[in-house]
Amino acid sequence: MQKVVFREDRCKGCELCTAVCPQKIIHMGEGLNRQGYHPAKVDDQEKCTSCTLCARVCPDMVIEVYR
């Protein structure tokens, strides 16, 4: 199950989320999304603690967090 869901097409690739994740599991994807940005991603959902920090600093409401 996904603890953090990134709506990739909404991401603007600002990287703000990557800097605040205590688990350091957020990285920027390779491809470009519809808006032309490299979207942020979490592959390693296991490691996510659902701490919501990433979602709190994301300016574009890309991230939903589940627990």
Binding site: A19, Q35, T52, R56, V57, C58, P59, E64, V65
Partner: protein
């Protein structure tokens, strides 16, 4: 599993036009969360004057008024006086509130208008592409201070929270930032207090957000956050500058 964080109900599910990493988006979300939690969406009216956030009306599923540059506190006064039981807030940039709109915000504060001002201080005129704002830091380069703001020529930046806190009228004045998750949480608390100040009819409330403008600062979003922390916060200390007196 249940959702522990998501989009506030009152915000429309659309792409916002802000640049990557711009804090306007975070601040919008916080307003959304507070409006949701206070359950006031159906009686809240927002006012967006000119600035990058002029299109804010597209993002909030609230009654909204677009206002002339700087005049949001006057427009808010008109609405609030006509409809005293509605919740009225303005969303203003530092060009809007601290330059052309100085008189309007000072007097709304003096009159203790029961409105809430969300003030986004990004030390620059964002929408018009990066001219000096009254809040631009000394030394900061903008398109109208090509050699950096010079205190001798342009003066020292305006600290709006401190200035308004020097008045008798306002009930709640705070300065917050959203550059870390912890600050985001604090900011939300302050914003909620500001709205509560209005709901409890205690007077004028303002929350100043020390914000960023990666585009016009010429920095990446992450660098802009660092710059904000290292420069903006020194000159613009965070905190609560005025709290409503307990109603007798």
């Amino acid at each position: 599993m249940k959702q522990v964080f998501g989009r506030p109900r009152v915000l429309n599910d659309v792409v916002m036009h802000y640049c990557p990493g711009c804090h306007h988006g975070v601040i919008h979300r916080l307003i959304g969360e507070v409006v949701d939690e206070l359950g006031i969406a159906e009686r809240t009216i927002g006012i967006a004057p000119v600035g990058c956030s002029v299109l804010a009306y597209n993002y909030f599923n609230l009654d909204f008024v677009q206002a002339a540059h700087g005049r949001a506190p006057a427009v808010a006064t008109g609405i609030k006086r006509a409809l005293p039981d509605r919740v009225v807030f303005t969303y203003q940039g530092d060009g809007d509130l601290a330059a052309i709109g100085t008189a309007e915000v000072v007097h709304a504060a003096m009159r203790s208008e029961r409105i809430t001002v969300v003030f986004v201080n990004n030390a620059v005129f964002g929408m018009t592409s990066g001219q000096m704002a009254p809040t631009t830091l000394v030394g900061q380069k903008t398109t109208t201070t090509p050699w950096g703001r010079d205190a001798r020529v342009h003066g020292h930046p305006l600290r709006v929270a401190e200035m308004l806190a020097a008045l008798y009228g306002p009930a709640y004045i705070a300065r917050v930032s959203v550059h870390t998750p912890a600050q985001v949480m604090k900011a939300k608390k302050c914003l909620e207090k500001a709205f509560r100040t209005q709901l409890e009819d205690r007077g004028f409330s303002m929350v100043e957000f020390v914000s960023n403008c990666p585009t016009n600062w010429g920095l990446s979003p992450l660098d802009s956050v660092r710059w904000l922390e290292e420069n903006m916060l020194k000159y613009y200390p965070l905190g609560e500058f005025k709290l409503p007196e307990e109603v007798a």
